[in-house]
Amino acid sequence: MYSDKVMDHFKNPRNVGEIENPDGVGEVGNPVCGDIMNIYLKIENNIITDAKFKTFGCGAAIASSSMATELVKGKTLEEAWDVSNKAVADALEGLPPIKMHCSVLAEEGIHKAINNYRKKQGLPEWEEKNPHSHEHEDVTCEH
């Protein structure tokens, strides 16, 4: 069901944990649906110098968190903002269709953390291109 890459990031997740005094925090998901993702960012000079996560969720959710944090490390905030859920899924060598929403969650986690940082800096928040709507087959999750 899962690619080797997903299993690798599930079994050996990178960047698990919290950052002390993070510059940006993103909390997304809902325990009711079985998924919560917390993303913590360290940001210096507009560059993400460290990223960590904590996730309650399925294999795909954990692997997506791991991959997303890997992808944004070292990127500027603009570059990190453009890391789409598809990029996360592609980097994981694909996700089953019904698990795509777990990668959406990762994208949103990063976005929220970035906006949390911008807000603290007194900067205007960036707008979500596709506001939260990840689909589970025919049901769309509404929080």
């Binding site: 899962y2 325990p31 079985g34 996730t55 309650f56 698990k99 049901v139």
Partner: protein
């Protein structure tokens, strides 16, 4: 990867076919291929083989052979019982009573009937998953034409007070169906003393073949056919008989019901070793289902702060086959309707694990799980945002 030792703990999902049953089926497939409806000798041999099996199934539940009808499995049996009785009795009424924790083969069939103009009452259950007979009695109206309550639950293993429920149905002259797919072989079943009018079985749950089941229909019960056509199964279930599977089912049910007491003691001992070990070693874990009125092979346990699918993946990696009540295994949003019905919060239901033991499991299997599972739970808790760590653990234990 290499061949890894497999520890199969998902016997409620399906069981391996007993080698002796598989061999019987294989030789049956190679000898008794004649269509039992035909007139020549090899066809009569097929017919005899089927009738022997029918008698074995009948004996296992205390029915007459003429009351046993072979089907393609538990789902077909449930669908047939419910739709068949509902449509045949529509002139009398349109009300059906079932429970909130039935298998989907019952629940989705009832939901379908709701679209067809029937009204369905879904009885609630208590925290153990037990149905209160008084609730059943209260739910009955003069439009009630069918009561369908499962014998034992497939997820949490709770055994319902079937004889009592059956007695209430009988008193009100309403046909009583029970889905005994999980119960057979674990509980002594007697359709006469337990007032059961219809009962569903599925062979692959007791080391028989997949794709074969049976419906017991008490003589005199009004029921429409579900599969129309040829005159097989005394004109009640069309389709060329699956002789090999039917023979395999007969053999398997004989073995499964031969010595229930002894078998249960064996498996319960092993189960309790596993259950107690888990509860001892892992904090924030709770057993779901009734502590005593439960299938001897079933453990269903919730681990707070973590999610089921990720547990399963880790266990699979160690060669352990288990299942969960988390919706994430199926990618749907709602976790198990059974766990919600017994009052578990969504996030706890998501962290549930079902381990169901079988004949081939050993103490070594149990001890291996007791070694692996605590590590898996700790590892997942360590990355869970819901888990506040050691401190909370100490406080709550």
């Amino acid at each position: 990867m290499g061949e890894k030792r497999i520890i199969y703990l998902d016997h409620a999902a399906t069981t391996p076919v007993k080698p002796s049953v598989a061999d019987t089926m294989w030789s049956c497939m190679n000898t008794h291929f004649g269509n039992p409806s035909s007139i020549y000798r090899i066809a009569r041999e097929s017919r005899n083989a089927i009738e022997t099996s029918r008698a074995q199934v009948a004996k296992a539940v205390g029915a007459e052979p003429g009351e046993i009808f072979f089907t393609s499995g538990g789902s077909e049996s449930d669908n047939w019982a419910i739709k068949g009785v509902a449509f045949a009795n529509r002139k009398k009424g349109n009300h059906i009573i079932t429970s909130a924790i039935e298998h989907h083969a019952v629940l989705h069939t009832c939901q379908y009937l709701e679209k067809e103009g029937f009204t369905v009452t879904y009885l609630p259950v208590d925290h153990y998953g037990l149905i209160d007979p008084a609730d059943l009695e209260r739910a009955i109206t003069d439009k009630t034409i069918l009561i369908s309550i499962m014998y034992a639950n497939n997820e949490i293993g709770t055994i319902e007070p079937v004889a009592e429920l059956g007695a209430i149905a009988r008193k009100h002259k309403i046909p009583f169906h029970t889905d005994a797919v999980q119960a057979i072989g674990n509980v002594p079943i007697d359709v006469r003393t337990q007032n059961i009018d219809l009962l569903s079985l599925s062979a692959h749950k007791f080391y028989g073949p997949k794709g074969c089941g049976a419906l017991y229909i008490r003589k005199g019960t009004r029921i429409d056919n579900l599969i129309h056509g040829g005159g097989q199964e005394n004109r009640r279930r069309a389709g060329t008989e699956n002789i090999a599977a039917i023979v395999g089912m007969g053999k398997a049910i004989g073995l499964a019901t031969a010595d229930i007491e002894w078998h249960n003691t064996q498996i319960r001992t092993l189960r309790d070793r596993l259950l107690n070990g888990i509860l001892e070693k892992i904090p924030h874990a709770r057993l779901n289902g009734h502590p005593e009125k439960r299938l001897p092979s079933n453990i269903n346990i919730s681990f707070e702060f973590i999610e089921g699918e990720s547990m399963l993946l880790w266990l699979d990696d160690e060669g352990i086959c288990a299942s969960t009540g988390s919706a994430c295994t199926s990618g749907s949003l709602e976790p198990s309707h059974v766990l919600l019905a017994i009052g578990l919060p969504h996030e706890v239901a998501h962290g549930s694990l079902r381990l169901t033991l079988g004949d081939a499991n050993t103490e070594a299997d149990v001890d291996f799980v007791l070694e692996v599972l605590p590590k898996v739970v700790s590892r997942l808790r360590a990355m869970s945002p819901l888990y506040k760590g050691e401190k909370e653990e100490k406080r709550n234990v």
